[in-house]
Each structure stands twice: as structure tokens, then as C-alpha cells.
């Protein structure tokens, strides 16, 4: 039998404290891209008890995603939004999820992201990362943006960092390791970067704005 929502919140409060959990529960976070970064960020934030997640991706789960993304073999072929919602609800049935199975563009970004306090950029390609960053910084300067850049390969995990690049803009990663050079992304190093991004979300929600 499922625990009640109150029981689950009480368990979170036991770990995080009542005041901190209140901040997490009242937050809305958008995750743009549900691949290696996004799916792992979503799981960390769901476990933390974030109130609402806006999950955006147009793609389907592919066999080649399973090396690092939080999907199962049985979910290959599903839309990532559907598969991730399934997986997150198994962890926390009361998390509020708003999936959007669309490609984020300059035209729809503002509408898709309007309810979010904090945005996580979790796209795969550099051009999309830059596109979203430019739109958010220009059109939504009040929001916090946490981007991922530089996480591929078998370089040291210690080179992945969080950097405050601009007033409301943080970058996680080593900012160098390009997925198109050398070996691709592996689960462990992608997870380090995703964890940096998720952790910065929690820090901002508790008024800790330094990287």
C-alpha cells in the first residue's frame, strides 16, 4: 500500500528539516532535455521533494541512451517524457509533473517555462544550449538558469565544477570535454555533472547563491 502524501512529506522533513522541505515543496523547476543530464537531474530533484517539475523533451528512449540515462530496457521506444514520468512516480507518487513532448524553440520557450522558478539546461548539443541560454538571459532575466557543459569522456571527475557565470546563470561541467571529441559520455561523469546541476537548484532554493 502506498504511504500517504503526509507520510512521505514527514519522511522528507526528517532528513531535510521542516523549513527546508517547505522551500523544496513550494518550488517549480523546469528541466530542458531529458537525456543523460536531464533524467538524472529529475531523479535527484524528485528525491529531494521538489513540488513540481516541468519536463521537456521531444525524443524517444533509444537503446544507446541506456549507458547513462535513467530509463530501462523495457522503456526503449517510449517518449522520454512518458518514461521518465513513470520512473519518477515510482520514486515519489505525489510529485507534480508537467511533461511537454515538444522541441523547445525561440517561439515556445517563454510559454513553456513561465511557471518555473529555476531552469536546468540539459540538452545534448552545444547550439541548443546556447540558444536556450540566450533566450532565458534576454527574455526571462528574473529566472535562474543552470546549464551543463563539458562532461564527456573519462577525464577526472574532479574537473567537473559549478561556476557562477552571470548574475542568475550557473554552468556545471569542465566546459571543455566535447562529446564530439574522444569518447562519448559515460554514466559516472554525466552523473557528476547532473548532480552539480541538481545541487545548485537546492542551494538556490535555500538562498545559497554562491557556486
Amino acid at each position: 500500500m502506498l504511504p500517504t502524501k503526509e507520510e512521505m512529506i514527514a519522511a522528507l522533513e526528517k532528513r531535510h528539516g521542516v523549513e527546508t522541505q517547505r522551500k523544496f515543496l513550494s518550488a517549480t523547476v523546469a528541466i530542458c532535455g531529458l537525456g543523460g543530464l536531464g533524467s538524472n537531474i529529475a531523479i535527484a530533484l524528485t528525491r529531494a521533494g521538489i513540488g513540481k517539475l516541468i519536463l521537456i523533451d521531444f525524443d524517444r528512449v533509444d537503446l544507446a541512451n541506456l549507458n547513462r540515462q535513467q530509463y530501462k530496457l523495457s522503456q526503449v521506444g517510449m517518449f522520454k517524457t512518458d518514461a521518465l514520468c513513470e520512473n519518477l512516480k515510482e520514486i515519489s507518487p505525489y510529485v507534480e509533473l508537467e511533461p511537454h513532448c515538444v522541441r523547445i524553440t525561440e517561439d515556445n520557450a517563454k510559454e513553456l517555462l513561465k511557471e518555473a522558478d529555476i531552469l536546468c539546461e540539459a540538452f545534448d548539443n552545444a547550439e541548443s544550449k546556447a540558444m536556450l541560454t540566450n533566450i532565458v538571459l534576454k527574455k526571462m532575466p528574473e529566472k535562474y538558469l543552470i546549464a551543463g557543459s563539458g562532461l564527456a569522456g573519462l577525464g577526472s571527475a574532479n574537473t567537473i565544477k559549478t561556476r557562477k557565470a552571470m548574475r542568475h546563470f550557473y554552468i556545471c561541467g569542465d566546459e571543455v570535454s566535447d562529446v564530439n571529441k574522444g569518447i562519448g559520455p559515460v554514466a559516472s561523469r554525466v552523473l557528476v555533472c547532473a548532480a552539480h546541476q541538481a545541487h545548485m537548484v537546492l542551494r538556490i532554493l535555500t538562498n545559497e547563491f554562491e557556486a
Binding site: L37, A126, K129, K138, D178, G184, V190
Partner: protein, 64 residues
């Protein structure tokens, strides 16, 4: 002098587009902030750097 990503460069009088080209940035992969304000791609060619400006350039690499 113009402070770009924390270092001083003697580039006042140049446009942002000119500096970015000289410094070999790929315009598709970057975001640029000048004196705390984001500069959109359409403004690179018309924004002239001045003495005392502070510029932040972020260049993304792929992978996610």
C-alpha cells in the same frame, strides 16, 4: 582596456562581432554579456566595445 572573462584586452573601438571572430569563437555556441546585460546575436555587429567595459563570454560544448 576591456575586461573579457576576467582578463584585460586592448580592444576598445572594436565591435563584439570583430572581437569574437578574431578570438575564434563559434557564434552558434556562445552567450555574451556586456556590463551585466545580455547581448543578443543580432547585436554583436552593432555593439562597439568601450574602455572600461566588462564582457563575459560563455562557450558551450556538446554532451548531455
Amino acid at each position: 582596456m576591456v575586461k573579457i572573462n576576467g582578463k584585460d584586452f586592448d580592444v576598445s573601438g572594436k565591435t563584439i562581432a570583430e572581437y569574437l571572430t578574431e578570438a575564434n569563437y563559434n557564434l552558434k555556441y556562445i552567450a555574451v554579456e556586456r556590463n551585466g546585460e545580455i547581448v543578443t546575436k543580432g547585436q554583436y555587429a552593432s555593439t562597439v566595445l568601450a574602455d572600461g567595459d566588462t564582457v563575459n563570454i560563455v562557450s558551450f560544448v556538446g554532451g548531455g
